[in-house]
Symmetry: C2
Subunit: 331 residues, 2 copies
């Protein structure tokens, strides 16, 4: 398999390389792309040196590439994804550029792997908070139909890449923020991405619309309140899920336990529950605080934490790559 | 007015003194109590020196005291509140010891000031997250009847007093936590207080039951998910409120603006919304992110931040003191 990485020097780009190595994905040729500023950087991968190229059409269209992993922001995706498609590559894009395009599958391999078969060159990787929420949500959905979901998030600064981590460190030292509108250290900021005319943020709209698309439930009632917290790695999401019938929590816990990609940590007596501390640098989505509402027996409360750079971005994209390899390239 | 403060050397105790001074409350005699360890400390208040006494029955029952402000934990309140009542003092207690006692009014002066008239010696100050939530909630409730409230919190470490702040600093330096079960720095902990058999925590039960009691709606459906975040001062609460009819947001904003104790900061275009940064060291509860749900027009979303030591504890207790002074002592 010949693989290209666009945004290879960024936080997600570097994690792509780490996970490709961890999962022993056999690579014939590897092409690394980044902005002009990072071009020329030499990156070592599996004892071989690669020089990062500038992302330009000329540098793309003369290559033989099967899969291109993008994580360089929406503008770069919009500008260069079609160049890779034109040479026959499948693009797996981590930006929000194509996610809601009806021609583009939006895939979480534990949830809707077969959607990759509908691709027309581009497959989108969902928003980080969406990914970690829809995996446990799908387990619930398979047991009892879902009427409504309310998300409230605790999102780490690494969701904004290295710049977010730098802004945490900078404001911890008492300096002015350069990325976020306010210091994130010792603060929480209830704004992620721009505001829409609804007074929900674009991040909140992403969680709502992407959940509907991934679950194939375009009319599902979803709400989100997305909040940045002073945590470096791993997002947490508190969820309230309204079901058509009263859930059996023991059955739910069993099903969650049996689901690849989920680790149930839910033992209140032993003070065991999901936290960034348990989720950072892990592949699993940690799920816990599972309980029934005290007033509406059809309401389920859950809390989940996951590494937003791994399962929320690079890992999910590489799991999509594995599905594409198995279901499309090898057929 | 003769005032006693029990827990005078703690974070809330010291803030009692600061707010008594700020609000020019005329004090004839001031008695300061604390644990044996802190007894003997000399505290200066309005240019006079006071020696802190150990909290013992003997040190209480020979005094002439009108109002005793307690903030020294439930055990101290349970042990000594009745001693103050026996000498004719009104106790205003910041612990959770008496809050759900049907004989004890639970008061937020902006919401249910007249409940103080029912007192039998003890008046309870609600939980910090409850206080900042019920003030804006009452504004909503006066406009349209409320069917249900879902709280999700972002609670500062000062909610655990100086020990919480110390645990933040300690774990920021890479040392092991001494108060919380896990490092709070660079983490969020979805447990505040012990777990109950419902798998909700005691803190979550407090928010639920206290909201019902303060609003005089014992059957109101309420849920809470309470989470400690690495912020030193000011709690934030994300609320979803279900109404019996569709709200008029302009009318709501006007009413919130007109309510003493509330500051509306809600201008998405200018990136203005509630945050600990805006609420710390302020008296006002900051309310914003006001928006209608995208799928259920009777659902209202709001976010509020407030200083948990001021409005969430010391300020609210002293506002109760002012109500008691006006409605009871001066009659």
């Amino acid at each position: 398999m010949n693989i290209a990485i666009v945004g290879a020097t960024g936080l997600v780009g570097r994690t792509f390389l780490q996970i490709l190595d961890e999962r022993n994905i056999s690579i014939d040729r590897l092409y690394l792309y980044a902005s002009k500023r990072s071009a020329g950087t030499v990156v070592t991968f599996q004892d071989q040196s690669y020089t990062v190229m500038e992302t330009t059409t000329a540098n793309i269209i003369d290559k033989d590439i099967d899969i291109a992993l993008f994580s360089a922001g929406s503008t770069v995706s919009t500008t260069f994804a079609r160049d890779f498609v034109s040479i026959g590559a499948v693009v797996i894009d981590n930006s929000s550029a194509f996610r809601m395009d009806p021609q583009v599958p939006l895939v979480v391999p534990e949830v809707n792997p077969d959607d990759v078969l509908q691709h027309q060159g581009i497959i989108a990787n969902p928003n980080c908070s969406t990914i970690q929420s829809v995996v446990p949500l799908t387990v619930v959905q398979h047991l009892w139909d879902i009427k409504r979901v309310d998300y409230t998030t605790y999102q780490a600064v690494s969701g904004s890449g290295q710049q977010g981590i730098d802004d945490f460190d900078r404001t911890a030292e008492g300096e002015s923020p350069q990325l976020y509108p306010y210091p994130i250290y010792n603060n929480v900021i209830p704004q992620i991405d721009r505001f829409e005319s609804t007074n929900f943020t674009f991040e909140e709209h992403k969680m709502i619309q992407e959940t509907q698309k991934i679950l194939h439930k375009p009319d599902l009632a979803v709400s989100a309140t997305c909040v940045r917290v002073p945590v470096k790695h791993a997002h947490s999401v508190s969820m309230i899920i309204e079901l058509i019938k009263e859930p059996d929590l023991e059955r739910l816990r069993e099903q969650l336990h049996a689901t690849p990609g989920i680790e149930v940590i839910d033992d209140p007596e032993q003070q065991q529950y999901p936290m960034p501390l348990f989720a950072a640098n892990q592949d699993a989505i940690v799920v816990g605080r599972i309980r029934k509402d005290l007033y509406n027996p059809c309401l389920l409360h859950m809390f989940c934490s996951a590494d937003n750079i791994r399962k929320g971005a690079a890992l999910n994209a590489i799991q999509i790559l594995e599905v594409v390899d198995k279901k499309i390239l090898r057929k």
